[in-house]
Symmetry: C2
Subunit: 279 residues, 2 copies
Amino acid sequence: MKILRSIFSVQKYIKQVRGKNKTIGFVPTMGALHQGHLKLVKEARRENAIVIVSIFVNPVQFGPSEDFKKYPRQIKQDSLLLDDEKVDVVFYPTVEMVYPRGYLTYVNVESVSEGLCGAYRPGHFKGVATVVAKLLNIIMPDAIYLGQKDGQQVAVLKRMVNDLNFPVKVKVVKTVREKDGLAMSSRNRYLNDEERQQAPVLWQALRSAQDMIRSGEYNSGKVVTAIMTHITEKSSAKVQYVCIVDKNTLEPLKECRKDAMIAVAVYFGSTRLIDNIII
Amino acid sequence: MKILRSIFSVQKYIKQVRGKNKTIGFVPTMGALHQGHLKLVKEARRENAIVIVSIFVNPVQFGPSEDFKKYPRQIKQDSLLLDDEKVDVVFYPTVEMVYPRGYLTYVNVESVSEGLCGAYRPGHFKGVATVVAKLLNIIMPDAIYLGQKDGQQVAVLKRMVNDLNFPVKVKVVKTVREKDGLAMSSRNRYLNDEERQQAPVLWQALRSAQDMIRSGEYNSGKVVTAIMTHITEKSSAKVQYVCIVDKNTLEPLKECRKDAMIAVAVYFGSTRLIDNIII
């Protein structure tokens, strides 16, 4: 497994591979890898001749009061995990390479970026779209692998790839969960024991909502209220939002029908957790 | 010469060509072709195995009060000209193909898009950057050919290509002029006889300014005043702006030194003309 740090070295590698007509699967990450990331890597490995994983904590997608500085960085441990998955290349650039002096260009997916997490993290999805546009141009993969856990990110990036005609397939991989249902996340490590014990309440509430809908309750307002009640009664979490939206456009739905996504964000202390379920 | 109307048909063509390892030169246009465009095409022809020209009047780069509807469209005449230049493919999509229902993604080059023409045409360069990003992803050329006449467009697109890591070379081709110095432009046809006779005043004023600087007058304020006086005394044109800026960042310069661009925009009646000179 190669660890490449410069854009130029990746481009050179890609050129060689392309000449041999090999397909490239790409997994963008911010490192601090868990089983959710590794599921993406396994999918990419299964479907492509070459697998490239990027590890880059992207400053542009963090707000000024967010956890950019304390976001976990563990390149050695991550590299060992990726080597075990038979990844071909880890692209691990510096911030200065990705955003050199005088950097000015941003990609924005309007509307889809603005609700849900976007409402509480202004500029977040512009940062995500911009860095992924750059990575797609550098790596020119045949397929990019994204986790469903970041449901809004999936919607934003699918829209961007489609709108800007990037020649890449977007593959969305099911959320990987701990045995108790908690969605894998690099931020779970911030939870203290009590919070960690309560955290599965997110998924439990989403599953109960699914049951509610299956038994005929399509009214979004009622389902949202049930989820909020469930979470606040069974945990110390503070709910940031519970929304029922179209999974592609992220437009709010009054009725939970086909292609509805129920998305939640809560705080346990200062740790923000998100999860979602597709109906 | 093929005229391809769908994105899919272009992508299919590109795939075949790429397999044969042929270089692709790309000239984006809005049609209504003149010798300036054809100079770009000739350069592309000279340097590449395959030449692709797009003809697309991009609604997103026109303001609501601008000339989108009346912008000249003459695909038959344009096709004949391009066929004469041995162009391989004309990509001539419809607006609905380029911006399908639900389109939401825009590329913005901050700062460089905001001065000069950008100040009077808000959103114009966002429209330019967005459509060129799309065309680059569809056509995947080795080189894109741009005319220096649109000096700010050149600066915006160079910055975008660099910032977003598009794997393409940007080739800038000198402005082609009528014998009397008027820069070729699809909008020159809007001028009446008197305006047409006066229009070379733009280039004359820029040349006089160049002489002034060569003889030691570096003060931008004085040079700008001289240009304004020249234009208003010798024509009926209304000056929109005269600016001396760094040709790459478009930041205003107090002194006309290396890499300075003097850019002018004027109105003859309702016809807006621009020109520039690099010092």
